[in-house]
Symmetry: C2
Subunit: 188 residues, 2 copies
C-alpha cells in the first residue's frame, strides 16, 4: 500500500500492533532490535524525507522504524542471564550463549540481528492487517539520516520503515505479483 | 515449542502454511529466498542431525528450512523485468533496480536477502499457529551440512529451520520471557 487516506490510526490500535511485534520469536530470546515510532508532529517531515519522501511515508498516519541492534548483544545476554538465574535455561544464558555470540564475525552478527528484527516487523505488519489497516514496508531510505535523527550509533541497522494507515484504492499501483510456488518451495 | 506429539500434520495444512509464506512482503518483490520441506522419510534423520539433533527437530512431524539466496538477485530481477514489461513498474524493474542491486556489497546483499527471508518465515510460523499447530524456529544448526544435503552453493544462507507439529505441554521448557515494552519500543 503506497498511498493512505488522511485518517488517524487509534493509539490503542498502534499499541496492540507494537505489542504483537514485541512478542515475536527472537534468536536465543536476545531481542536485539528496537522499533522507533515517529509520533512527534514537528519531526515527522524530517522522517518522511529520510524515507526519500515516498508517498507511503508522507501520506501515512503513522510511521515506525525497525532497527537491528547487533551492538547490544552483550547487554541483552547479561539481562537474560540475570532473568533466568537459578531457573531453567540459567546455564545456557550464563555459560553457553556468551561464547556462541562472541564467535560471530561482525558481518554474521549484523545478519543475525536483522533476522530477528524482520520477524518482529512481519508480526507488526500482520497485526496492522488484523486491525483492518494497511501497511507499507520501505527499505528505500537514507539509513545515515535515520540514524542521525534517532541518535543511533553506526552499528544500528535501519532494517526498514513501516508506514501504517487506512489505504487508498489507488495506493496499490499495479497487479500484485509473486513467483509461483514451484520457484520458492521445494520438497526434498 | 521444543517437543512435539507423534501426530501427523495434514498435507493440506502444510500447503496452506507454505502459501502464506510465499505471499510475504519482499524487498522490490525479488523474493530471494526459498523454503525446503524435508518430506523424504529416508533423509529426515540426516536433516534432524544437521539441526544438531535438537528434540524440536527430531520429534516434529514436519521440518522445513528457510534459505536466503542473495546469489539469485540477477535472475529474479530479469524475471520481474519480463513480468512487468510494458506495464506499471516496467522501468523500475528494467532500469532502476539492477543498478541498486549491483551497488550492494556482498555483505549487504546477504543481509538484504535474509531480511525478506525472515519476513516469509514469520508469516509461515503465524500460519502454523492459525492451523492450531505449533512451531519451533531453529538457528542452531550446521549450515554447511544443510547446504550439502540440499545441494546448495555456499552463497545460500541457511536462515533457519522451522519444526512444525502438535506441541506437547512439556515442550515449553520454562516461563516465556520478553523484555518490557520500554526497552523495545521508543516514541520519538
Amino acid at each position: 500500500m503506497r498511498k493512505f487516506e488522511d485518517v488517524a490510526v487509534p493509539e490503542v490500535a498502534m499499541r496492540r500492533i507494537l505489542e504483537a511485534a514485541r512478542l515475536a520469536p527472537s534468536s536465543s530470546n536476545l531481542q536485539c532490535w528496537e522499533v522507533y515510532w515517529a509520533r512527534d508532529k514537528g519531526r515527522r517531515e524530517a522522517f518522511n524525507e529520510a524515507c526519500l519522501s515516498q508517498p507511503a511515508a508522507s501520506t501515512a498516519a503513522e510511521l515506525v522504524f525497525f532497527v537491528s541492534r547487533p551492538d547490544l548483544w552483550r547487554r541483552n545476554v547479561e539481562k537474560l542471564a540475570a532473568e533466568f538465574a537459578g531457573g531453567a535455561g540459567a546455564s545456557y544464558y550464563a555459560d553457553v550463549l556468551p561464547g556462541i555470540m562472541a564467535s560471530f564475525s561482525e558481518a554474521e552478527l549484523s545478519e543475525w540481528a536483522v533476522k530477528s528484527c524482520a520477524l518482529a516487523a512481519a508480526q507488526f505488519m500482520l497485526a496492522v492487517g488484523a486491525e483492518g489497516l494497511d501497511s507499507c514496508p520501505m527499505e528505500g531510505l537514507d539509513p545515515d539520516r535515520v540514524r542521525e535523527l534517532l541518535g543511533l550509533p553506526k552499528e544500528a541497522g535501519i532494517a526498514m520503515a513501516v508506514a501504517v494507515g487506512k489505504g487508498r484504492p489507488e495506493g496499490v499501483y499495479g497487479p500484485r505479483f509473486r513467483f509461483p510456488s514451484e520457484s520458492q518451495v521445494f520438497e526434498v
